[in-house]
């Protein structure tokens, strides 16, 4: 059975451009776009962008499946659905295009401080191979 509990380990997969400055050469064009748009829209205090595409049958660097961790004061007082909608809105063009799947963790700075765990991406079961 798929484990559902959070682990305390860092996010799996290539961790791209953690807060404090991008790693040189890290991430493809879409990863950089995601980072830039989320930064502009939500002014995060902390942001992680993770390319999970290789875990879903794509070649490394396919940039189709991403996970984002967004920590922002903009989320204060907003229910989860609204928080996720803000993230989607920032990435509307990408979601209508090459960004096929997006895992979202959206926390306020206070929540992030009290709970720095991030759920791991669920394992692929091949569904995206049936996509057009």
């Amino acid at each position: 059975a798929t484990p559902l509990s959070c682990s305390a380990s860092p996010m799996r997969g290539p961790l791209l451009a953690a807060a404090g400055g991008a790693m040189p050469g890290a991430g493809g064009a879409l990863a950089r776009t995601i980072r830039a748009k989320l930064t502009a829209a939500l002014q995060p205090t902390y942001l992680e962008v993770r390319d999970d595409s290789s875990r879903h049958g794509g070649p490394p660097g396919a940039e189709t499946h991403f996970g984002v961790l967004v920590v922002s004061g903009r989320f204060a007082g907003l229910p989860l659905l609204q928080r996720h909608r803000l993230v989607h809105e920032a990435l509307r063009a990408e979601l209508a295009g090459p960004l096929h799947a997006l895992q979202v963790t959206a926390r306020t700075p206070e929540q992030w401080q009290s709970d720095p765990r991030v759920p791991p991406a669920p394992p692929c079961l091949g569904g995206s191979k049936r996509d057009p």
């Binding site: 059975a1 798929t2 559902l4 959070c6 879903h56 229910p79 989860l80 659905l81 996720h84 909608r85 989607h88 509307r92 979601l95 209508a96 799947a101 997006l102 895992q103 979202v104 963790t105 759920p119 991406a121 669920p122 394992p123 692929c124 079961l125 091949g126 569904g127 995206s128 049936r130 057009p132």
Partner: protein
């Protein structure tokens, strides 16, 4: 969800159900991205999706089926529901119906699959359901639907938070 938003949604949904016969689809509220299905009965039309989400207290649009999910995110939704003892729900495999797949994205204004509806209301995808499971909200939402989560029985002797 804020009560005002919820009330507004219910008024809108009720009005849609009472909709005048013969009201052309073209008068439906426009949505960005993805054309409405042509004709009055396409499986991806607002009316068709509305019927599906109101069919049962728990409705899931997913890839594959509960018996055989074909996507890790869809599987996570199935597993969470199973943990709560919810086995009786409506699941729709969007891989079988491209019109439906686009139609539910238009309906909920949500770009990804899976999508979970409780009592006809869109609650979110796999990430949100997982959080609701972890913070106890899912038990509460199921209770409002008259569904007793299996986890309550498991925790009968423990203090609830």
């Amino acid at each position: 969800m804020r009560a005002a938003v919820r009330a507004g949604w219910r008024i809108g949904a009720a009005a849609a159900l009472r909709g005048r016969a013969g009201r052309p689809l073209s008068q439906a509220a426009g949505e960005g991205g993805g054309a409405e299905s042509g004709g009055g009965g396409g499986s991806g039309s607002r009316e068709a999706v509305e019927r599906l989400v109101r069919e049962h207290p728990v409705v899931v649009f997913m890839k594959g089926s509960p018996a055989q999910p074909l996507c890790g995110f869809s599987n996570a939704v199935v597993q969470i529901l199973r943990l709560h003892g919810v086995e009786d729900y409506r699941a729709h495999d969007v891989l079988q119906d491209p019109d439906l797949r686009q139609g539910i994205k238009n309906y909920s204004n949500w770009p990804t699959i899976p999508q979970v509806y409780l009592n006809g209301e869109f609650v979110g995808g796999c990430d949100i359901l997982l959080q609701m499971h972890q913070n106890g909200d899912l038990v509460e939402e199921l209770k409002k639907l008259g569904i007793r989560s299996a986890l309550l029985d498991a925790e009968k002797d423990q203090e609830k938070k």
